[in-house]
Point group: C2
Chain length 172, copies 2
């Protein structure tokens, strides 16, 4: 959207700090972890609606983008670690337990790498995973949005299986 209207606010006013964005992201990741846990092992791997991917596949994508993504922002290296590679035929993760283990590793990686992002990097244009170009902050927002989007789909899977999902606001 093009913003043209004049405002009396300073044009460089920042209303979200890197620390607030990290907290926002990790809050969402905490909720997604609970959604993974809510799936029975079998349905995590097999259940699907309308020809969509299973929640196991969706969760691996979310995890892979997050883990390899944060490392890419800091180092410029966008190669997947084997356990974070969610592409068809590439994933080495087979069970919910393994998925949660790598999920927690990624949680720590994000917390560690976050502090190594130089202040100016957030406004820089980068090419994430060698293909999606955008401002770093917008790239991170895109990953968070993608997580919320697919997690919302997991809620429908759970409801349709008769399982109560964790409350949406339970991220803090």
């Amino acid at each position: 959207m093009e913003i043209t209207k004049e405002s009396s606010r300073p044009l460089d006013l920042g209303i979200i700090t890197p620390e607030a964005l990290l907290s926002h992201w990790q809050g969402h990741r905490k909720l997604t972890r609970q959604v993974i846990q809510a799936f029975p092992e079998e349905q995590l791997h097999t259940y699907s609606i309308g020809g969509m991917r299973t929640f196991f596949e969706l969760a691996k994508e979310i995890m892979g983008l997050s883990g390899t993504g944060i490392r890419g922002i800091v180092t410029g290296n966008w190669d997947f670690l084997p356990e974070e590679d969610y592409r068809p035929g590439k994933s080495t993760i087979k069970t919910k337990e393994e998925l949660l283990r790598v999920w927690d590793k990624v949680t720590n990686d994000i917390n560690t790498f976050w502090w190594q992002i130089p202040a100016e990097r957030f406004k820089e244009t980068i090419k994430s995973f060698g293909q999606w170009e955008g401002e770093t902050t917008n790239i991170i927002l895109y990953w968070i949005d993608n997580e919320i989007h697919h997690r919302g789909q997991g809620y429908v899977y759970l409801r349709s299986l008769g399982i109560e999902p964790p409350p949406f606001w339970n991220r803090y």
Copy 2:
């Protein structure tokens, strides 16, 4: 999440401006509008999975929170306009066409009211709709997250109806 680690970045570094957040929000609203449009009138009102609400109900909630919410942030008045009131038995909107008409009005309202939010308001703690307390910026992020979450559920409804949803990245 508690942030304790020290960083060399300035602690008050702002990486998202109000204008960027507005653009982010309206981009998501543009995509949600396409999802509403993708539903056939009948299924918009009747289709549901796992006992969840129809997408008509979900879209009215998204619209009502956004329209009345932006007005509340600026004026402190959190009363619903009749056409934005999504609570059971309160909504005056009956058709997809009416929904899209009010949706577009809310789009304009957000663009107008946005410029009237004083700079300091974003960091202030407010009580949205008289009940949910939080920093203004976090309240707005919550509305956007809620929209992405429910829209993701609409994607499952559409897929399960054999309808191709609009691409998730089509927000710009």
